[in-house]
């Protein structure tokens, strides 16, 4: 899986490092002082991840917790994300990571004690001035669960939220890798949000990810164990039969979990920054975006025209309500 594994000198004896190296015996191991000596030093083409993918085991320095952009999650409460990894094993052709880092190589930040401390400090600071809840999201720069059996970090993050029931943790994922989570007792304030799209869209665009059915099976496993579940319908991509295809998907979802039991459903329409759009064009020139109705908007983002975005969001929200979702549980992600 990994061509080379770069390990920061200080982390060579960490049990997490040892576990990773034990699993990938055939990868060449290189000891370095700091991952930034190598990672992003040259521009490595995104699709090179198909042939030579490297892994960095490193410590995250600087800001460990960051405020999330507006409309990132349910409104009315502050949202933050924390960084425990860079990059992803999947290859979604719309993913902004292809235009974000100058390398597709994976970085695992394993200084979890420092990161969890930063989360707890943020919770305490918030609770000194507010009675409202506070949200933390994992997976801004990576998939939260896809490699959790390697990173072995879920428990340490969940512990923070066991101690802080008014704070919420969201794992956002496209994976079906629920192994690590299944062994942990569920908490009402730790929510796993599965990104879902109609089966054919997953096949066309979420390259190398589990199918819709596999993701639904993962949802069922976690639900049966009592873990709170959220759904993330993003990116919504327009097709002539969009209503039928989302109805079909919702039928499958409610066979797995009634929407009344879903904590929340976030909706987002496909969108790109101009730089990411250029990268997508370079990496996936045949993808459907290039003959769709996307425009470059006045905010310099590439997205559908306003009436179309709002129609799509309205229509999918309507379908969610029709299939049993509570009105207050459906929100629009990253839309004004």
């Amino acid at each position: 899986m990994f061509d080379k594994i770069y390990v920061e000198k200080e982390l060579t004896h960490s049990p997490i490092t040892e576990n990773i190296l034990k699993r990938f015996k055939s990868s060449e191991v290189v000891i370095i002082d700091n991952y930034e000596e190598v990672f992003q030093k040259v521009k490595k083409p995104y699709l090179q991840k198909r042939e030579t993918l490297n892994l960095f085991v490193a410590q995250k320095k600087g800001a460990l917790v960051k405020e999330a952009p507006d409309a990132y999650g349910l409104s009315g409460e502050p949202h933050y994300y924390f960084i425990n990894a860079y990059n992803c094993i999947y290859e979604c052709n719309y993913c902004y990571l292809q235009g974000y880092f100058h390398s597709p190589d994976l970085v695992f930040f394993i200084n979890h004690e420092e990161i969890t401390q930063a989360i707890e400090d943020t919770i305490h600071r918030h609770q000194e001035v507010s009675d409202k809840g506070i949200w933390f999201h994992a997976g801004e720069f990576s998939d939260s669960l896809a490699l959790s059996h390697l990173t072995q970090d879920l428990e340490s993050y969940i512990d923070v939220f066991k101690r802080n029931p008014r704070a919420y943790l969201e794992f956002r994922t496209k994976s079906a890798n629920t192994r690590a989570l299944e062994d942990i007792s569920p908490l009402p304030n730790v929510i796993t949000s599965f990104s879902l799209s109609p089966a054919d869209k997953i096949k066309d665009n979420d390259l190398k990810t589990p199918s819709l059915n596999t993701r639904l099976a993962a949802i069922k496993k976690l639900r049966d164990k009592g873990h709170p579940i959220a759904l993330h319908f993003d990116p919504i991509i327009y097709t002539d039969d969009i209503v039928e295809s989302y109805e079909e998907m919702l039928e499958l979802i409610i066979e797995t979990i009634p929407l009344t039991e879903v904590e929340y459903i976030s909706l987002g329409v496909v969108r790109f920054t101009k730089d990411v759009y250029k990268q997508v064009k370079m990496n996936y020139p045949e993808s459907e975006y290039f003959y769709s109705e996307l425009i470059t908007s006045h905010d310099n983002k590439v997205k559908y025209p306003r009436p179309m975005r709002l129609w799509l969001l309205g229509k999918i929200k309507e379908l969610c309500l029709k299939y049993g979702a509570k009105k207050e549980s459906v929100y629009l992600c990253m839309e004004e």
């Binding site: 025209p305 009436p307 129609w311």
Partner: protein
């Protein structure tokens, strides 16, 4: 890599647009898109020698230099606006001459490059001994190309027969036309075979006399056609004819070929952008009354801003009252609903 060399921006304007060339950050007079570069040298051989050498220094991978532009004719029998590939290129008061590299389709006319503009019969008479066409750059282009060991080609459009007439103003006025014609020629005859393959010139409709495609219409057509092919509904020219109701368009005898092309392009846009078309149709329906009285109603072409511009020509009190009344009756609520996506799709 090809480098297109022009003296004036006016000659290059269609190329800049059609080839989507963007200014190079290192050199303001140089434009680029992928493997195609375009250089504007300004008039005269001295400018060419300096600027072309600099461009070749910046881009050593240039393989072919193509000089395009207008020239004068010393022979009144040479047709105006005809395009020539000169056989030999001379220079005024210079011994050395150059032959174009390619032997294909070479004209039997020669060209001479001069240090100053040739505006009178007197100036022209001495040159007639050497060549039929006169320009200000080709020899310098050839000289630099030879020095850098590059292939070069020269194509010149005859803008005037050299007389005492003041033709400079006319050339300026016709710059767009000349640029269009040069681009058309370039597109059909010069572009590399690989990029030609991407064009759809083999489509029967492009040769159909019921339609006339201007340069920009052909560009739009090609882009739409390529996109439509990627949509599964259209797989070949038969599907294309059926889905876009081409036979119906052809039967519209009251329309000119150019208007039929507009209809065709419109149908292609509808097929490719069905949602946008529905929104536009709704907006057009809503504003039909406003547009009745010489008023202009403009909304964001990308349909992204919830606002519109309204322009009215008022030449009487009655007209003012009419416009005010109509505008007052205009339903902002419905406009707002459309822009918020509340339409039947």
């Amino acid at each position: 890599m090809d480098l297109l060399v022009f003296a004036h921006r006016g000659e290059a304007m269609t190329f800049l647009k059609e080839l989507e060339l963007k200014s190079n950050s290192q050199y303001n007079d140089l434009y680029q898109n992928g493997d195609t570069l375009l250089l504007i040298t300004k008039e005269g051989p001295h400018e060419v020698l300096v600027k072309l050498s600099y461009a070749l220094g910046l881009f050593p991978n240039i393989k072919r230099i193509i000089n395009l532009g207008i020239c004068g004719s010393l022979n009144k029998e040479i047709e105006l606006e005809s395009i020539h590939k000169p056989r030999t290129i001379y220079k005024e008061n210079e011994f050395k001459s150059f032959q174009c590299n390619s032997n294909e389709n070479k004209d039997s006319v020669d060209l001479i490059t001069t240090e100053k503009r040739i505006l009178t019969e007197d100036d022209a008479s001495a040159l007639k001994n050497f060549a039929t066409l006169v320009d200000r750059e080709a020899h310098a282009v050839a000289q630099v190309a030879k020095t850098f060991n590059k292939t070069f080609e020269v194509y010149k459009l005859v803008s005037d027969h050299i007389t005492d007439a003041k033709f400079c103003e006319r050339i300026k006025e016709n710059a767009q036309l000349y640029s269009d014609k040069l681009y058309d020629f370039y597109d059909k005859n010069i572009q590399s075979s690989s990029s030609k393959a991407e064009q759809n010139s083999e489509l029967e409709i492009l040769r159909d006399s019921d339609f006339y495609f201007s340069v920009s219409q052909r560009r739009i057509f090609n882009n739409l056609y390529k996109s439509l092919l990627k949509k599964s509904t259209i797989n070949n020219e038969q599907d294309f004819t059926r889905v876009l109701s081409i036979e119906d368009i052809k039967s519209r005898e009251e329309k000119t070929p150019k208007e039929r092309t507009s209809l065709l392009i419109n149908n292609m846009s509808h097929a490719l952008y069905p949602f946008r078309t529905k929104v536009q149709d709704s907006l057009n329906e809503l504003t039909s009354e406003l547009r009745t009285y010489d008023c202009k109603f403009k909304y964001d072409k990308d349909l992204d801003k919830k606002s519109f511009k309204f322009e009215a020509y008022i030449d009487s009190e009655e007209k003012r009252d009419l416009v005010v009344r109509t505008l007052k009756n205009f339903s902002w609520q419905r406009f707002s609903q459309i822009m918020d996506g509340q339409i039947d799709v």
